[in-house]
Amino acid sequence: MSIPVLLFASYADAFGARRLDVPLDAPCQVADLVRVIRSMPGGDRLPAAPLVAVNRTWVHEDVAVQVGDEIALIPPVAGG
């Protein structure tokens, strides 16, 4: 099984993709997901604590990810 994760802007460039299929089973914690993503090619370009959204809401790393959730790894925002 894998968990799809959306990527944007500088993170899409870092991983060379707009979506990652992370080799991990849900349910798991956001922290587990980030740990595995960090080990993937391009993951060394992530900051110490990247922002994550689940179902379009900001979450902390101890939040559980369920099958079917929309997960996004969010670069530092820079709107305006």
Binding site: F8, S10, A53, R56, A72, P75, V77, G79, G80
Partner: protein, 149 residues
């Protein structure tokens, strides 16, 4: 692209040029006595580097829902406030507006506070990114955690 509406509140992430006049018209109402507008525009120099344009990318659905939440929270704090907010995505030329916030109220203090609160929250919370295009041909995503935005 996407639009969110309720009485006195309009937020949208748009790809077309922002029509400032239309936003001002939309914010108007008989009880309005003060209208404050903030425009963010693309400038030609950043951190000493000549800039030729700016590219904006958004996580569209979340950007709109965060923007809507910010607008509703601001209207909750400032009773009677009307807000019209649009943020543009795509590649913009120097001088073009990337974001427009129109805050309308019976009185000026609330209108001006409303516009200020929305732009400050937008910069902290809304998943939008910008990549500067330099005259040298280089392109770089801006990271406000590292440089002054």
């Amino acid at each position: 692209m996407t639009v969110s509406e309720r009485d006195g509140l309009h937020v949208a992430i748009v790809s077309a040029r922002i029509d400032v006049g239309a936003l001002l018209t939309r914010a108007q109402a008989p009880g309005v006595g003060a209208v404050s507008m903030f425009l963010g525009t693309v400038r030609d120099l950043n951190d000493g580097r000549p800039v030729s344009g700016m590219e904006y990318e958004a996580y569209g659905p979340m950007a709109e829902s965060e923007l809507r939440a910010i607008a509703e929270e601001t209207c909750g704090r400032i009773a009677g406030l009307r807000l019209v907010v649009e943020h543009r995505v795509g590649t913009l030329d120097i001088g073009e507006a990337s974001v427009a916030i129109v805050a309308a109220h019976a009185h000026r203090a609330q209108a001006m506070d409303g516009a200020r609160e929305v732009i400050e929250a937008l910069k902290r919370r809304v998943p939008i990114w910008k990549r500067e295009h330099y005259l040298s041909g280089d392109r770089e995503w801006l990271d406000p955690t590292k440089v002054q935005a």
